[in-house]
Symmetry: C2
Subunit: 326 residues, 2 copies
C-alpha cells in the first residue's frame, strides 16, 4: 500500500508473475476493497487459487518516521506481511514502501541474525557472466570495522547461496594501493585479511562493481548509495541520449528499431527498472524492497528477486555460518 503509485500496478505485476510461475503463491496485504477493485480489471481467474488477500487497516506512508511507524502502525500491511514471514506462512516479503520503516519493522518482527548488529541493503548488480553484490546501499550511512566485516560475510553468503564458492570480496576504496584511504578502511582491510568464509582480495575501486573481479563490493551505505544512483543516472542518460540520436531521421529510426530487436538484452541494461529489487540482508528471513514508483516490469523484476531468494535462503546459510563461528 505504501508505494508512490496506487497499488494497481503492484497487483497487476503479481497476477502476471503468478501466471508465469505456477509454483508460487502470493499473499497481498492491504486495503481489501482497493486490491479487489484492481483485480476486477485483470484476468486473474487462472491464478486465483494462488492469490490470497489479507486486509490491513493501516498502511505505512512514505513520509512516516520509522520509529513512529514501529510504534503506531502495528496493524499496517507492512507489519502484517512481516509477521507472515516470521510465522512461516510466507517465505519472503516484497515491499514497495518506506525503506526506513521496513528496516525498523523487520528488525523488530523478524529479528537480526545473531551476531549481526545492523542489517544492510544489498543489490545484485546487472552484469552478465559474473555475479556482484554491493552492500551497504544506504541502511548505514557510516559503517565501522565490525559492520564492514559483517557486510562482507552477508555478501559472501549471498554469493555462496547462488552456488559460487568461495566468494571473492573487495573493500571499496579510492585506490587499490595499500596506503590509500581513511584509517578506518586501513583497519577494516587488516581485519578482513583474517576472513575464512570467503576470499578477501583487498581494496577495490568503484569500477570493480562492473568488471567481474570480485563477487562482493563492501562499502558504507553512503558511498554505496551514491555509486548505485550515479550508475542508474548514467544508464538513464545514455538511454535517453541514444533515443534522441535514433529519432533524428527515418533511416536512423529504422536502424534504431533493428538494434533494439537484435541487442534487446543489451538495451535492457540501460533500464534500471529491469533491475528493481534490493535485499535487506542480516535478518531472520527474506526481505526485498522494491522502488516505490516502479512500473509493472519493475515490480515483476523485484518479485523474481524475492522468489529466487526464497528458494536459495542465504539467511539460513548465514545462521549456520554464524552458529559455527560461535
Amino acid at each position: 500500500m505504501g508505494g508512490d503509485e496506487s497499488p494497481h500496478t503492484f497487483v497487476d505485476a503479481a497476477v502476471i508473475f503468478l501466471q508465469h510461475h505456477p509454483f508460487v503463491h502470493i499473499i497481498l496485504f492491504g486495503d481489501q476493497a482497493v486490491i479487489q477493485a484492481a483485480l476486477h480489471h485483470l484476468d486473474s481467474q487462472s491464478v486465483s487459487t494462488r492469490l490470497t488477500i489479507r486486509h490491513a487497516e493501516q498502511f505505512v506512508a512514505p513520509e512516516d518516521k520509522p520509529s513512529l511507524a514501529l510504534r503506531h502502525k502495528q496493524k499496517s500491511s507492512m507489519w502484517m506481511a512481516l509477521t507472515a514471514v516470521a510465522e512461516g506462512s510466507a517465505q519472503a516479503i516484497l515491499s514497495p514502501g518506506n525503506t526506513g520503516a521496513l528496516m525498523a519493522m523487520a528488525r523488530h518482527v523478524l529479528g537480526s541474525l545473531e551476531g549481526i548488529d545492523r542489517p544492510a541493503i544489498c543489490k545484485r548488480m546487472p552484469i552478465s557472466r559474473s555475479v556482484c553484490y554491493v552492500l551497504d546501499l544506504g541502511a548505514n550511512l557510516i559503517a565501522d570495522v565490525k559492520q564492514l566485516q559483517d557486510f562482507a560475510l552477508l555478501g559472501a553468503a549471498l554469493v555462496e547461496a547462488e552456488g559460487l564458492s568461495p566468494a571473492r570480496v573487495g573493500l571499496l576504496n579510492v585506490g587499490q594501493e595499500l596506503q590509500k584511504g581513511t584509517d578506518l578502511l586501513q583497519d577494516a582491510n587488516e581485519s578482513l585479511k583474517a576472513a575464512t568464509r570467503f576470499q578477501y582480495l583487498g581494496f577495490v575501486e568503484g569500477n570493480a562493481i562492473f568488471d567481474g573481479s570480485v563477487n562482493v563490493v563492501v562499502c558504507d551505505g553512503f558511498s554505496g548509495n551514491v555509486a548505485l544512483k550515479a550508475c542508474e543516472g548514467l544508464a538513464r542518460y545514455l538511454a535517453a541520449d541514444l533515443h534522441s540520436y535514433f529519432a533524428a531521421s527515418w533511416t536512423k529510426r529504422l536502424l534504431g528499431t533493428l538494434i533494439k530487436i537484435l541487442a534487446n538484452g543489451w538495451f535492457k541494461r540501460l533500464n534500471p527498472d529491469a533491475y528493481n529489487g534490493a535485499l535487506l540482508i542480516g535478518l531472520n528471513g527474506i526481505v526485498v524492497k522494491s522502488h516505490g514508483g516502479a512500473n509493472r516490469a519493475g515490480f515483476i523484476a523485484a518479485l523474481n528477486v524475492a522468489a529466487d531468494l526464497a528458494q536459495r535462503r542465504p539467511d539460513q546459510l548465514l545462521t549456520r555460518w554464524l552458529s559455527e563461528n560461535r
Copy 2:
C-alpha cells in the same frame, strides 16, 4: 615523465594537438633525450616552432610519497612545469603523473587561493545539453562544512567561467528529503543556503550527475571518487558487452559497424578515455591531471581541457570573488 606508460604517447598527443590548434604553444618537461627520440618518429616539423623541450634531471615516480617528492624532487619535470606556470611562462600545466605529488607541489609552487584551505579535484561530466562539474573527486577523502562550502564556490566559478550564470549547485546525499544524511550534511546544507554567488538547490542524489538538474555536485572526495569510477566501470562494461553482442554473427557485425558510424557521438560516451583530464581547482593557476595510462586520444582530450581552462581562467574569477568577499 611520471605516467604509467613511456612518454611517447604523450609526446605524440602533443604534436597532434598542436597541428589542430595553431595558437597553442607546448613546453615538454622531461628527459630531453627520451623526448627527442619520441619526436624523431613523428611528423613534428610543421609545429616545431610551437614546441619547446625543457630538460629535467628528475621525475616524480607513481609510487613516490607526496611529502618526500615535495622535499627531494625539486628538479623534477613536475616541479619545473609548475614553476613555469607560477612564473607566467605557461598558462596551464597538464601532468599524467602522481596525483598526490602534483597536489602537494602545486600547493607549494603556485599556492592555494586565499580563503581556500584545501584545493579539490574536479571533473566536467560528459553530458550533452548541460554542464555538470563534480567535486571533490579524491583530494579530500573527508570534507568538513567549510570545505564543502569551498567546493561549491569552486564549482560555481567553473560554471560561470563557461558563461553560465548563476550556477545551480546541489549537495550530494542519499535522498533529497531534508532529514536525510549525516549531521555534517545537515549543517553543510544550512550553511549553503546563505550562498550568494550561486543558486543552491539543496540535496541531490547520485543521478543528479547526469540528469541536468544541477551544474555542480558537491561531495567529499571519497564519495565523488567512488561515483566517478563506478560510472567509468559501467560505461566500459556496457561498451564491452555491446561489442560482444554485435560480434555474434556477420549480420550483427555489419549492423554494429553501421551504428558505430551513425551514432559515433553516442558511442564516444561509453569510452571514459575520451573524457580524460581532471582539474585541480583552488590553486593560483590552471592544473590539469591526466590518467597516467591514457592513450593518445585520452591525452588529447586532457590537452583540450587544459587549453580551454587556460582561456577561461576560473582561477582568476575565483580570486576576484574571494577578494570581494573579504
